[in-house]
Structure formats: structure tokens, C-alpha cells
Symmetry: D2
Subunit: 450 residues, 4 copies
């Protein structure tokens, strides 16, 4: 991204073009923005450089920009690697002149929110939420992989935008630009929400919610590229699974296994029993679920009764009823296992995304908007995504207040699956995303009432 590139689109005369038409003009910018993000991936809550780029862009477009502690409550973050975040912060700080916004982001508060008042008339607040974080994956270096071939691969080992968030941010920046051009001819407010820390449902969205970012939104759109939907197709309502993730620590008592085996309190066996029991939670006739003890570390040495165990586990359910059932069973199992083995169990929530409920009329409106966009061949009402998505923390909040929310998929042909080393998407879909979202936001703003 360069300042020049972003300024170009809205330097042309602002005539009566449609949002979709404006979007088309951004095609080169979108690719450049996306590739810049792709080259500079930052892990969850370490998106300092990324946030600065976005804030500058929104500034230039005339948005009122808030960042860091202005839009996030650090207490609502479930899980954060403080040491790694601090290190990333220090590195960015050393190479940056202006520290005002960076200071607000200290401790991993890397969210950015931009607001734009449209026209003179009051009206609803419409919002788009996109996510920002990259993954700890080593990007493929083969010539088969376009980012490698075209020279925009990740500049950092073991970090990669392998889920499309680089594209989501590009779409967000594009929508910001298009809506800025729509300002004279419409009303109400547009809000762009760039959310850090999405992977693992670790609390990026929850921190925004806790600070009230969703409280005055009348309609919230969220987007994801790909997920099995090919270029040219749009899913207006994507259902995700509810999920919770826990880190469980079991503290027992060490003991020499020959001198005093009876004195030990075996945290490793307690964890083993817990893992077995958790994986044998009975199915529910009320909906499918999957539970997984994904990580287990326990014990000190061959000759010592293991006094320590740590488990990371998650579960994914089709609905809230099943979610609560599994959650309760895990609590019972852990309490009982702790008692059986004489260990102390502590459970910490490290990730959460609620079950999904969305608004059918908003989906219809978006579908109608999408249907008119050039390049969109097919509009699909619903799709099921077998994953959690913490955007639903924001949607949940909006809907709690009686307003509307929706999660859309922007079809994009993929090379390599999500979270794979050779993940890549079809950049053609970026324009589709900007066009569909901008048309939809504009349509919402134009309605009598939301």
C-alpha cells in the first residue's frame, strides 16, 4: 500500500457511479493492499504495523479513527501471549516515528475502528467487521505457490496469512474508500471495524464488544473469503458452530516413585483419565458436536510422580443447548477427576464464539444487492461452516440490542486449503467483496428504517 494508491480512487470526480462501479475502479489497489498485508503478517494481538497502515488509510479518507484502548477492553481478551506481544510491540516501536496511536495499542490492543458520517441527514449506523491476524505457519516456498512466484510471500519465517485475513482487510479498506465516495448521496453512518485476534476465538471480538463498539450499530456485516465457495458465488448467511476453548491445569504432588510412591498425587494420570472421559461424553440428540483435548503436557522426570499437567481443549457444537450440555459435562468430569486423583484443577477460558443466529431479512437484502453485482454468478442463501467464528460475539451483541447482523461468504477459488502452507485465494474476489458489501451497506442506509 502506498499513500498515492489510496488517494487515487477518490480523487476522481464524485459523480453518480454505483458502489459496485466504484469498487471496480479499486481493483489494482485491492491487490496491492492485500499483497502488502500478505508480505507482512502479524500474529494475533501483534498486528501493530497492520493497524497503523489501516488507520492511516482511514485517516486519509476522512474517517474518524479510534484505535487500541479506545475500542478494546483488555480484560475481555481470553488468551494472549504477553511476552510475544511485548516483543512485537517493541520491534514496531523502534522503527516507527509517531508513537501516539502505538501507545494506545500497548499490550495487544491492535483493533482499529473508523467512522464516517454520511451526508447531512441522520440515519442508521451500518458496519463492516473484518479480521486482521496471521497464523504461525511457514509459507510454502515452491514455485507452484503464487505468492512465492510473484514475490509477495511472507517476509517472516513461520508467520503467514493463510486464512485470507489479508484479503478481508483489503476488502475493508476498499469498502472504506467506496463508502467515502458515497457520502454525499446517502445518509447515516458507516463504521469499519478491523478486529485483531480472531484465530482461536481468543477474544479480539469480545474485547471490542466489551468496549461498546457494537452497541450503536444498526446493521453489522461480516465477511469471509473462500471456505469452499468458488469465485463468483456469494453466500448471504453462513452458519458457524459455537465453540469454547479451555486451558486446564492440574496440580498434584511430586514424589520419588521408589522412595515414596504413595506420597505422590499424579497429575498425569488425572489428565489421562480426564481426556478419556471428556472424549467419551455421550452424544446429544439435540445436535452434533465435537470435543477435543488437543494438547497435553505433563510430568517432570521418569522417576518422579508427575505433579503437573496442562491440557488445552475445545469443543464445537451446532447450537447453544448442546454447548451448555458439553460445557457442564466437562466441569463435572474435571471436578471428579481432581477428586479421584487428589489434584487441584483450574480451568481458564481461552477462546469463545457463540452459536450463530442471524437476520433473514438482512440476508435477503444482501442477496438482492449481491445479485446485481457484475461477476457474481450465483447467490446462495445459506451454508454451514464447521468452525467457530468470533465475529458472532459482535453479531450477538448487535442482536441483543434488537438490531441486525449477518455473516456472508465471498466466493473465491482457493489454491491450498485454509491454514495450509500453500493457501492462496483468487484476488478477483476482492472486487466482488467490496462491491457486494458496499451495495449492501448503501441499500441499508437507503431504507426507510432498519
Amino acid at each position: 500500500m502506498t499513500g498515492k494508491a489510496t488517494r487515487k480512487p477518490h480523487s476522481v470526480t464524485q459523480t453518480a457511479l454505483s458502489p459496485a462501479a466504484y469498487s471496480k475502479e479499486l481493483e489494482d489497489d485491492l491487490r496491492q493492499w492485500r499483497r502488502d498485508f500478505h508480505r507482512n503478517p502479524e500474529l494475533k494481538f501483534e498486528e501493530f504495523r497492520t493497524a497503523a497502515r489501516i488507520a492511516d488509510h482511514l485517516d486519509a479518507l476522512g474517517y474518524e479513527v479510534r484505535v487500541g484502548a479506545q475500542v478494546m477492553d483488555s480484560g475481555a481478551i481470553f488468551d494472549l501471549d504477553a511476552e510475544s506481544v511485548a516483543k512485537a510491540y517493541d520491534e514496531v516501536r523502534e522503527t516507527t516515528r509517531s508513537h501516539e496511536r502505538l501507545d494506545l495499542m500497548k499490550g495487544g490492543l491492535t483493533g482499529v475502528v473508523g467512522d464516517l458520517r454520511m451526508g447531512a441527514e441522520p440515519g442508521p449506523t451500518v458496519a463492516l467487521r473484518v479480521d486482521m491476524d496471521a497464523l504461525p505457519i511457514m509459507e510454502a516456498a515452491t514455485h507452484m505457490h503464487r505468492p512465492a512466484r510473484d514475490g509477495f510471500s511472507s517476509a517472516i519465517d513461520h508467520r503467514m496469512h493463510a486464512c485470507g485475513h489479508d484479503g478481508h482487510m483489503a476488502i475493508g479498506m476498499g469498502v472504506a474508500a467506496v463508502m467515502a465516495r458515497m457520502k454525499p448521496t446517502t445518509r447515516g453512518n458507516v463504521r469499519l471495524i478491523f478486529q485483531p485476534g480472531e484465530e482461536g476465538a481468543c477474544g479480539g471480538a469480545a474485547a471490542l464488544v466489551a468496549k461498546g463498539v457494537a452497541d450503536d450499530v444498526d446493521a453489522l456485516l461480516c465477511v469471509h473469503l473462500g471456505l469452499g465457495v468458488p469465485t463468483g458465488e456469494i453466500v448471504t448467511r453462513a452458519e458457524f458452530l459455537a465453540t469454547s476453548k479451555y486451558r486446564v491445569t492440574l496440580s498434584g504432588m511430586p514424589a520419588h516413585v521408589t522412595n515414596d510412591p504413595q506420597g505422590g498425587r499424579n497429575a498425569l494420570l488425572a489428565a489421562a483419565a480426564a481426556a478419556m472421559a471428556i472424549h467419551s461424553i455421550a452424544p446429544s440428540s439435540q445436535g452434533w458436536f465435537s470435543v477435543n483435548v488437543g494438547v497435553l503436557h505433563a510430568g517432570e522426570a521418569q522417576g518422579i510422580c508427575p505433579s503437573y499437567a496442562m491440557m488445552e481443549l475445545g469443543f464445537w457444537t451446532e447450537n447453544d443447548v448442546v454447548h451448555e450440555y458439553v460445557d457442564n459435562r466437562i466441569d463435572e468430569i474435571l471436578d471428579g477427576v481432581a477428586m479421584s486423583w487428589g489434584v487441584r484443577s483450574e480451568k481458564k477460558l481461552i477462546g469463545r464464539a457463540p452459536a450463530t443466529s442471524q437476520d433473514a431479512d438482512l440476508a435477503e437484502l444482501v442477496g438482492a444487492a449481491a445479485a446485481g453485482v457484475t461477476g457474481v454468478r450465483n447467490v446462495i442463501p445459506t451454508a454451514e461452516c464447521r468452525a467457530g467464528e468470533d465475529a458472532f460475539c459482535l453479531i450477538e451483541r448487535v442482536r441483543e440490542r434488537g438490531k441486525k447482523g449477518l455473516y456472508m461468504l465471498i466466493g473465491s477459488d482457493l489454491a491450498g486449503g485454509h491454514h495450509a502452507q500453500d493457501f492462496d485465494f483468487d484476488e478477483q474476489s476482492l472486487v466482488h467483496g467490496v462491491a457486494v458489501v458496499s451495495e449492501a451497506l448503501t441499500a441499508i442506509l437507503s431504507r426507510e428504517s432498519t
Copy 2:
């Protein structure tokens, strides 16, 4: 056994013969008595006929005889098959004229205690305890098996004296006869304790203790035949393992596993987890132990979440410290498992024998007495028996009150191991047993003080 036979020994002139010499005269009686018991085996707490035979014998010898509720507290019995006991009681009642003693035995109180005041002088009370119950085993019918060959096999299918208790009772009756002849020349008191319900440590001894039968005993001897010791050898002090046995019931909640799997509380899985955990109790540096979940029954049908489970488990330890450690761990495990699986756990003690501690000086005295008996080739100070033995409930009580107790082994060549279908012992050892015990009891009575 016939009245004639028992009367014969003490009808001869009571001259200065030694207890060992009197014992020798009983050789034929001992064999007859033993074979009569062998032909008529009765299970634990069903020894109604057996008890009557013994009481008649003690009567005839001039002993003061107490039976049933006079010597046992039914509340102290750990485990008893009430239905089977009632059936056995009714059968014996139908074929018996005198019901006075039988009435006292109702409900399985089949113990018999005989007391004899020796001479005119006061003195210590010395006691012998033997056990009475047979086993639910089908006796071998082969010609290789002497009881079959010689026509004194069990008259009842699936009941057999396969542990030597028939011999123990013959020894007890012989000792009663010998001590009756020693009456004029010694002092103090002799007590014969015939204990029902020994197998499984199910509470025969505990019920006698609870009624105070051991409270005024100054020296208590207990005997067992065989246990690997050959004919002609005597072990003066046999160490046994402490043991406890429990019946555990787990009550959950049934549920159709397709319509409502989430509604069930799985007692079968709870029992499985408990069994695994109990078998993985860490070893102790303070002594060897073995724990076993020996029986598990759970569940109703393939399509129903199992709402019920029953486990029978036992453990055997080298000492009380380890016994308490294992006992506590079992409690912790069951409490925890019940919590983990949402079931209710109930634990019932169905057997107990304490760890063994005995008196070295009593062992020495017995050893000296044994050494002088014709036919005794070897006196061994100690042996370890890998089993529990509830005689130690009585010994424990005696020693709690500052008096002395001892458990001896009377060597006997065996055909077939204990509890085997072809178990048999060398009847020659019966005389050894009577002689060694009588000599020892006489020696104790003759000492200045106990």
C-alpha cells in the same frame, strides 16, 4: 460322629497321662468326626447342623455351652446371604426335634462356645478358635480323590469342605476332649470357640468379638492345617495379610441412547473408570499390596444408557499403614468417579481381616510344647501366608486388652490345593494338632502368670 465315640476317651481312668498321650488315643474319633463334617458341609452362616453336633459334643464333655445370639452380635456380620441362610435354617429345623439352640442361631448366628473350669484353683482363661464353614465348590468324584474312594465325599452338590475346616473342627473337638481329661490336674479355664463364616472374612469372627467372646481370654490360639507346610512340621507364628472387601453400587440414570443420550448418567463407564483407577493406585514403599476389582455387573440393554453397576473389590496388604493408604485412595477414587459421571456411589464393607501382630513369647511356649510331641519333626518359627484370616479380629481384640494371641499352622500333606475340587489333607495331622494345642494350653495354664 456318634455320642458313643465322644464319650469313650474320657470314660477311661483319668491318670497322669500327658495331653499328647490323650490325643493319641483320639486318633479314630478325630478321623470319624472329620469325615462326618466332610460329608455334611454347610456354607457360611448356615452351619446349623454342624453347630448342633459340636454343642452336643461339648455338652457331653461337661462344658458350659453357649450358641448363637449368646455369643454373636448379628450387627457385626459384614455380609450374609439372608435368603440362603433362611432356607438352610428351615431345612434343618424340619429334621430336628430340639429347637431351643436352633432358635438362638436363627439368622445365621451359628457360632458355638464351650467353657470348662479346670480344677479348683482360679487361673487364666486359655482359648482355641477354629472355623466351621464349607465352600460352594463341587467336590471331585474321581477315584483319585480319597473322600470319593473312601465314601465320605460331600453329600451335597456344589458344597465342599475344601479348606480343611472339617479338620479344624475335629481338632477343636479333640482338644475339648483332652482338656476335659486334664481338668483335675490343672487350673484356670479352657474355652473352645467354634467360629462360623470365615471364608471371605465376612464377619464370623467380628460377630464373636462384638459379643465379647474374646474379652476375658488371656491366651488365644488359632490353627490352620496345611497351607504348604508338610505333615510333621508346625509353624508357631503364621503371618497373614490384612484385607478389606467392598461391594460398591453405582446408580446413574437410564436413557434411550438414540432419543436422549444426553439424558443418561452412565454407571457402566463410571465403574470402568473406577476399576482402571483402583488398579492404578501407586505402590507403597511401606509394604506390598494387591488390590482387585473382582466382579463387575452393569447395564440393562444395548440401547439403554447403563443406569446401574455393582463392583466387588478387595485388597490385601502387608500392614495396617498400607491398608489405610489403599482404603483412602479407593474412597477418593469412588467419590471422584461418582462426581465425574453424575452417579451415586455406595460402598459396603463385606469382609475384613486386620493386619497380624502376635506374641513372640507365646510362640516360643507353643514351639517348646510342639517340639515334645511325637510325630512333630520340625518346628518353624514363622511363615508368611498370602491371604487374609479373620481370626485376627479375635487376636486383635485379645491383644487390645493386653493379653496374648497366636496363629499356628499344623503341617499336613495335601492332595490338591486349598479351595480346589480335589483338596484333601493327611488325617495323621489331626492328632498332631490336638496334641500340640493341648500341650500348649496346658503349659500356659501351668505358668505362674500370663
Copy 3:
């Protein structure tokens, strides 16, 4: 049932009444037949009296009747309690004069098949399958329970028609009567299949299949009353779960747990580990399933290493792919557990019902037929039943041969759920069942080709 009652309906002049109209005339008979069966419940493969009643009825209507070994292959039965079946057989034999058919049923082959050639013209063979067996349930005796109130409760303790098979058989007999009256005016063949041994998917259907009963059927209808569908509604296509059930025996090595604990091979712990592992089979993204180790019996005594364990388990899946996945995992688990614990594992199939696939066009035809029946308020295309149903063994066979099959639900208001002590259904639904099935069969016979 009385001979008079059955003869009455078809003694009236056979004019141009519709099947539904004939059905209406049978209302009293249907109630009587059902109540007779309800009073005389017989367990799976013990339906000797029941089968005789049905055969007599079909005889009287002019059907060609085959029973027992003529229509069932005993080798295809998965699980049968030979002792109980033999006892039931002997009892019925003693009270019966004619033994010709009973001889054919020996060993539990209690199926009855009746064939009727319709009119003079050839045509397709259409069939109805109903099930015959009762359950080992103690019927409620309360006045709230209509069978008790109206005096047609089960005459036998712990046996009850608690699933509606008494109604199914009444419907079958009614359809036989109606179709007999339709004989002059239609063509082709009608087959009534009365199947024993449905509960537990234990092989009643499989034994009919193995003997070829389904081989020449062009269209097969199966019916069930109730299952949550109220009186007046008909479900034309009911989807069931695929199921398999196994009895697993684990054989280890006994050992005294104090003398030789190391010599044992613990079948109880092996079963416990297997149960835990089987219940922790990972979910499948390809469909819901439920697996259950419903019964576990293991071990001999507290002091013996358990050398024996028996488990009964079942699983229910949404489709065949998931069925095969779970089946394979169970095999892997059992093989591994046997190796880990040094025991021998044997697995016996004791129940099976395949996944369901049915014919949409047949469902449409039935729906149209049902819609015209008086009293049918609502025709529902599909419903999901969370259970296995071995009628699909017959449907599977018919469809393998390129012909058509369908499983329908006849709505019936219930008092008490299926398999409950107070189960009862609305007898009004019997006429609906007869009418809908007869109309459908007649319609199929009237079509150009099937």
C-alpha cells in the same frame, strides 16, 4: 378374535366398495383382533400362538399360507434364546391339537406369509410386512391404563405388547380381509408378511430375506403406529437409523490376586478399557451416531483376577458410511485391547438393521392414496425416527432387485411412550392403517407397471 368375527366382513355382498370403505366395516374386528393379541403377548421367536391365529385367519380368507421353515432360514437369525423358545414351544404344543404347522415353526421360526392371486390377469406382487413380537415388560395395572380398565391387559407377567405390534398385526389381518374382497376387481398378487423377532433387530427379517420371501415382491409396504405422529396423520416415508449390535466375550486367565497376581490376564480391566475407548470414538462429520456398551458382566470373586467378561453393545448411525466407520473402529479397539491385556476377544453379531433408502415415487403414490381416506387429516412426506428397524432388511432386498419399498407411519395418539409400561395407542388409527395400506396396494396393482 373369534371365527365369527372374521367371517362377518367378507360375508356381505362384494360390490363396488372402495378399499377404504371395506376397511371402515372392519372397525370392530380390528379392535377385537388387536385386544386378543394384546392379552396374549409372545416374545421374539416365541410367537407360536400368534402365528397360528394369523395363519387360520389367512386360511379362512383363501390365502395360500406358508409358515416357519417354509419362509424363514434359521441360520440367518442373529440372536435367539434357544431355551426360552423351546419352553414356549412345548407349552403351546401341549394345548394345541393340530401340530402340522407348529412342527414347521420349531426352533422359533414363527413367521407367517400369505399369498392371494388377485383376479384373473397377471400383475405385480405387492406386499405388506408387519411385526409380531411383544416385549419383556410388566404391563401397568393402574386404572389409568385402558387395557387394564377395559380388561384386555396382558395375561402374562413381564410380557407386554408395548410397541404396537398387536395393532400392526390387526392392520395386517384387516388388509388381508380387504384385499380378499378386492380380488375380483383387480389383478396381480397380494402378499401379507407377518414377521417375528423384530425387537433388537435380532434377525426376524433377515431370516425371511434368506429364505427368499422378498425376492419376487414388486412393491413392499411396511407400517408402524404412533412414533410421535398423532391420530389422523400419515407419514409416507419414515427414515430410521442403521444399527448393529454385538455380544463380545473376553477370555483371560484367572489367578489368585495375592499368591500369583502376575499370572492373571484381567478380562474385567480389558472390558473396562474397551468400553472407555468405544465410547470415545471420534464423531464423524459425515453423520450423527450413538454407540453404547449397554451391558457388562465380568469376574468371578473378589480375590480372583477376573478371567471372563461379556459386553453387549450397539451403535446407531445416520448412514452406511458412518456405520462402517464405527464398526471398523470397534474392531480395532477390541483387537488392541485384547493384545494389551493378553485376553482373547470374540465378537458375535446379535442384531442388524441397515440404513434406509426408499422410493420417492412409491411414497407419492401412497401419499395420494392416504389423502383420500376419511379421517386422514394430514399427509407428511418424511419423518426421522431415532431407532433401527429391521424391516429395512426386507426393503433393502426388494430394492437390490430393482423393485420398490417404503416404510410408513400411521399416526396414533399414544398414552405412554413406546416400550413403557403404560403404552397404549388410539384404536381409531387401526382403520386408518387398513384403509391407507389397502388403497395404496390397490393403486399399485392398478398402475400400468411398477
Copy 4:
């Protein structure tokens, strides 16, 4: 340690003093040597500096010195952290002038063997083995801890001589000095074996055995300080437990737990099941044992089926029969678990020490020698140590060849237990150790024949 210090003792006139008297003269040197080693602890197979110090000392005393590949076979080492060893090697190399011996030690072969021909006459070869490695423990810094108070604490964080090997080496160097002074007056050969890599029974002794260092030894003595024996007491024969240690890796198949849970092969659950089963291996009536899965690491992320697990486990047994029993059970369990969960299991031996058998007559000779040493108050025949000790690899080899071996304890009052942060011993015991060993070696050399 300084060169001056070591040279002093044997520069005095070599008169007819006894070994014990020579030992007494070394008191200051022993303390200095021990403290130098204590300040410079080196982990197993990283004892490069330590070995150089010892080799220089033996050189100066006239011993023929062999090191590294001359005395160790690297293929016999069970477990070695190659990266850490290489780093330690490079560090020492940088600060050392002479590289000849260091080159021989490359890869962790840090053993040192010194041989001295005694007098002119041939005679037996007598040997002393001591161990060299420190532990990864952070030494206590409190004033209560004498090394801290007196300024000879470990110079390196997280490395500490916390088991007394610093004292063992000082004793070895002292014995070397004393025996050098005994050279003129005795015959045969003396061998000092300084063994690296004792902790964890990781293979230091096995590597010496594999190179033949024990093959021509007629009598081998091994020593340990402390272990609960107070200053002034000597145990002539210490029994240890046999031990084996394994690293087990389980390799499964990763899978997204929502998209493809059925595609995974769960190594974490396999490890959990294995740990439970290994801890539930039945006890043995043939001897006590303890088994421990001490370390378990498994899994990648909350949302991925764990494809990897690593366990480190060990077991300690009273004898070889039980050792083989437990070893076989572990193999069975791992094979079965791998099959049950569809994972691949690999087991690597990372530590071993055999069961102990020693020579009673050698113990008597050592006892007699010890009894005459000033300061030795008590000579105890045997003691049981609840640990493994790989010196028995060397003793085993010596005894296989028909010669004699013995493991002695040199009593030493301790501050802090072995392997504790505040471990320290009474340096007074160093003289006892040198005196007792030297007297014993001299006595053996003086006997007619060994």
C-alpha cells in the same frame, strides 16, 4: 584443585604407613578437590573439564591413563543430548590448549581410566569405580547452605553436584594417591575407573563395559556417600533396584476435529490409555516394583486431532524376574494401544541398570578392612537402596567372568536430601572413604588369590 596440591601428598617419604594413615594426610587435598568439582559441575556426558582434571592427576601419580574412545563405546550409550554435549565440548575446547585427550572425548565419551602396576610381582587387578556427572538443578543460595556460605557453590546456574559425585571423584583421586604410595609394598594392579553419565542410568557404565574396561578386573569396588547412612558408618553391601527407562513415541494422524474428526488417529488418547494401563500392571508375588509414566507431551492445537505423543517412563524392580514381567507387560500394552488407536508406537531404551548381585566374601573382607579405620564407628552388612545404579552394569560384567564385585556406602551426614537444591554432605567422610577403599584394595592384593 591445583597441581601443587595434588603433588604434595606423594612427595613425602614413602615409608611403611598404612593406607589409612596415608589417607589421613590427604584430608585437605580431598576437601579442595571436592570443592573444585563442586564449583564446576558438568552434566552427563559433558564432563570434559572434570575428566581433564582427573587425567592430569592420574598422570602426575604415574598411572597409565586412557580416556574417551579408548575406554568407552559410544554405541552403548542409551540416551544422550547430542546438541548440549556438542556445545559443552566446544566451550571447553576454546579454553583448552592441549586437545589430544579432548579429541578422544568428542561426542560425550568423558570416561577416564587409570592403571598402576603395583610392585614387581604379578597379582590380581583391583578396581574402584566412581561417577562424575552433575545434575540440572539450581543450587540453593541461602546462607544456610555451606557451599554458598563458604564460597564453593556451583559457578553455573541450573547445574549442581547434588548427589555427591564430587565427593566420589575426590575419593577416587585420594585412593589413586594412596595406592600410588602403596606401590612398592604390594603387587598386582590397581585400576581407577571414573565413569560419566550415571544419572538416569543413561549408559555411562554400559559404554565402559562395551569397551571391555571390566573384563580383566578381579575385584571391583563401587562407592556412594550418604544415602541415609551417617558419618562414621560403612555399609559393605548395598542392594539397589533393577531399572529400565523408555522413551515411547506414538504417531497418529492429524485431522480437523470439526471438518474431519473421523480422519484422525489420536495419539494423545492412545498415550492416555497406555499410561492408565501401564500404571495398572498387576503386582507380582515375586517382588515389589514401581512403574511410572513420568512425562507425557502430546498434541498440536485445540482444534486438531493430536497426531503425536511422547512418553518417558521407567520402572524399578526388586529382581530380574519381576523386571522381565513388567517389561513384557509394557510391550503388550503398547502394542495393543497402538492397534486400538491406529497409531504407530516406537520404544527406545534410554536407561538401564541391572538387578544387583554381589559377593559375600568380598563384603566380609571390606568389612574387616573398614572396621580398622579410625573414625569408622559401625560396619553394617547390608542396606537396601530404593533406586537404580548403573555401577551394576560393571559389577554384572565382572561377575559374569567369575570375578567379584561390591557396592559400598560411605556414611555421611547430609544437609538436604540427594537431588535437593540444598544437598551437602559431611566432608569428614571423604577420608573415611579413601581409607576404607584403600585398605580394602590393599587387603585384596595381599590375599593369596582372588
